[in-house]
Symmetry: C2
Subunit: 457 residues, 2 copies
């Protein structure tokens, strides 16, 4: 019987396991998955909403438990930390954390490396102090909630880092009734969008009552008796009962490196179109630990998002199960919600386009989510970035109050298909007064971008 | 000075006039537009919402009045009915309806024919009886509202025809407090979607309290003293104080035909990519009176929708103003709202795909608008139609409760770019728990359709 071992029991790893199982009976393939944490297959993206109380139950975030996997003849072992991948002996070594660290050895024919990402370590110490949290795993989320429920309850939260997670957590802490300071080194939070769009996010976050401090660096933590007391910043100390780190993540490649698997220029594991690690036989990788291709620039990128992890895991599982599927790369789509603001992006930002060597024009338009006269119409800003001369759509960003975020999908598909903004002026998009103005905001933006391209030529 | 005359003062005609004016000063080009009704540039699609009371003011539907056009040096003459287009003398003959029918002759260098559409005439008589209405123009809408405000107020409305307009009007009449019967000859209302999707619409309409009678033909009207009393159907007479005809429209080509302009196989005026009438010099046409190309089948189609009319008018105006723009066809996108149901389609329906000669598979999936655990998540059904063997996406339909309709845009753009359902399984669509499950409904549907294509091969 062939043997599959999966390292990492979340989105990518368990999608791979499920797809492999779908294609091979339990008599053909045994599947063992090791997961360091307490949970399998959960929505990491849902953690801020759980902390904020929008989602009431932890279990709502879990899509499949080890017991459910067992019914699929998948042996998902939580609280097992993999310590070594031995490619010569083709076995995985793990420690059973709830069994005194007992060593387990599991041989494999196929291996899926899906170790995910780990929080980017800040360049300062004492992040192990009580009251300092990351929010990468469901266990992290549970720890934050325990801290919030402590007696006396924490009153002051400092969130370090103004990316998606930082902004979502700042909102969650406000929803929990804390006084919140958000510290971001850059001039704007949400550097994943252009500064003019980021400024709108900053306003929305400030509007929630968050003390937003941009252009402020963190020098370290003040710790007293093992417990954090303040965050020391270039702007002075900011007192904190609880500190949440949202500094981004890096691919978790330690085991892969030790095993001699190739890492790419992004520092993440290299994979081919079928999610196989190049130069290996039966070693697959997927999720936040791998790099992929940005379809606009053609360059490798590391984009740790649950939606990619699920797709990549599925592709790996189909292929190792004898099928055929590919993951042809990403176009950089991401959406988030900040209070009643919807923020979406796809393709390249202006900074990314510049870094890639493009010369480009931008066009921003203000429109509404519905026909202007229809009740509930809300403002929406669409910004397009188009290559000079060719008019190729390179990137798009949307900030709106409602019915805005998912409009990015059409733009993502336009970029995927290498459309020009001029061709996009003719797009046949859905029109009815409850859903769009007769000129859809996307088409209005394409018109303005087309004019900008012509004006530059 | 060059002279432009526009026949028809609504979406297409006035978009053309505006674009021409944008590119040429009042000293270079004079612009006269004739409109038979009382109003210019209004949202026909908004009329049902005005009748239903969702939109309070008629003027909210008007985007530009003749006075506003006058400020742009566009002479928009309402209540002027064009009676002849004389291509030899290059002049238009019109009657001033509010001036005793006085004849006006207006010479032109360029002409934009934008006469719109007229209600499809039923094969029965007495549609001129009091109490019988169409809802094609703002004047029609005003007439319906006058009838609803009459004393004694009408209590029973019969809507004939279960297409978009019929369904929207049935809802509007319910909102006005009338007892409503909707009569549709076909087995389902909304034959613009597949029967399985149409059945959901029928349920929603019935859920509003509308008496939906499908498979019922209309034989005529019962009229008493010039006033309608009942609609005579294959199912017996249905008493009515007010009858609204929603039987669709046909292109208004009478003047074009008389002038010798070419009509296509759809019965609408032929135009080239730049909206010029082939074989003519300086004669342009746009809007509900022209035919266009369906980008999936490559065949001519007549699709009278405001969104196309505006784009086509703009293209005509840009070209006659010395610029360059094209209207490369449609992919059949349409959306509508029925109570809290959102209904969307793009590409070909199963019936249209069959008629075009395609062999195809279909795949329908049930999913949710947001992550299943996120508050406000609502069910959504996505149906895809893909060509056998190639997997080319031919059509898509969505029915949902909220945040569903505009998801059709991504599918429309996928069809526009001739994507296969297999490639679509990898699409990089926006994911965050408030906006989508981690597997977007569109991607889940693409996966299922891909499996269906493989199963057939």
């Amino acid at each position: 019987m062939r043997r599959l071992v999966v390292v990492g029991g979340n989105a990518a790893g368990m999608s791979a396991a499920s797809q492999a199982r779908k294609r091979t009976g339990p008599g053909e393939l045994s599947i063992v998955a090791f997961e360091r944490g307490h949970f399998t297959s959960y929505s990491s993206c849902g953690i801020p909403y759980w902390i904020g109380g929008v989602v009431a139950e932890r279990d709502a975030l879990i899509s499949r438990t080890p017991a459910e996997f067992a019914k699929m003849s998948i042996d998902a072992r939580v609280r097992h930390e993999v310590t070594e991948i031995d490619l010569d002996r083709r076995e995985v070594v793990a420690r059973a954390l709830d069994d005194g660290g007992r060593e387990v050895r599991e041989p494999f024919d196929d291996l899926v490396y899906a170790a995910g990402a780990v929080p980017a370590a800040p360049p300062w110490a004492r992040t192990d102090a009580t009251g300092v949290y990351g929010v990468q795993t469901l266990d992290d989320g549970a720890a934050v909630l325990r801290a919030l429920d402590a007696d006396p309850a924490p009153r002051r939260a400092v969130v370090v880092g103004g990316g998606y997670i930082g902004v979502e957590l700042a909102e969650a802490m406000i929803q929990r009734g804390l006084a919140v300071t958000l510290i971001e080194k850059a001039a704007q939070p949400m550097s994943t969008v252009d500064p003019d769009m980021g400024a709108r996010v900053a306003d929305a976050v400030a509007g929630l009552g968050v003390d937003v401090r941009t252009g402020v660096g963190v020098d370290g933590l003040e710790v007293d008796g093992g417990r954090v007391r303040a965050v020391v910043t270039s702007d002075g100390p900011v007192e904190a009962d609880i500190v949440v780190l949202g500094l981004g993540v890096r691919p978790n490649t330690a085991l892969a490196e030790a095993a001699g698997l190739p890492l790419g220029p992004t520092g993440a594991v290299e994979v081919d179109l079928r999610m196989r690690v190049p130069g290996t036989d039966g070693i697959w990788a997927a999720g936040d630990c791998v790099q992929t291709v940005h379809r606009v620039t053609g360059r490798p990128v590391h984009v740790p998002l649950g939606t990619h992890a699920n797709k990549q895991g599925r592709v790996a599982g189909i292929n190792l199960g004898g099928g055929y599927a590919t993951f042809p790369g990403v176009v950089g789509t991401a959406v988030t919600k900040v209070c009643d603001l919807e923020v979406a992006r796809t393709g390249l930002t202006s900074a990314e386009a510049t870094a890639a060597g493009y010369r480009f024009v931008t066009a921003s338009i203000e429109s509404t989510s519905r026909a202007g006269y229809f009740p509930g119409a809300k403002p929406m800003c669409v910004k397009l970035i188009a290559e000079k001369r060719t008019g190729l759509l390179l990137g798009a960003q949307i900030v709106g109050r409602t019915e805005a975020a998912k409009r990015i999908d059409g733009l993502a598909i336009a970029i995927w298909n290498r459309m020009t903004v001029e061709e996009m002026t003719a797009l046949d998009l859905g029109y009815a007064p409850p859903y769009a103005p007769v000129w859809d905001p996307v088409v209005i933006a394409a018109r303005k971008a087309t004019d900008a391209v012509h004006a530059e030529n």
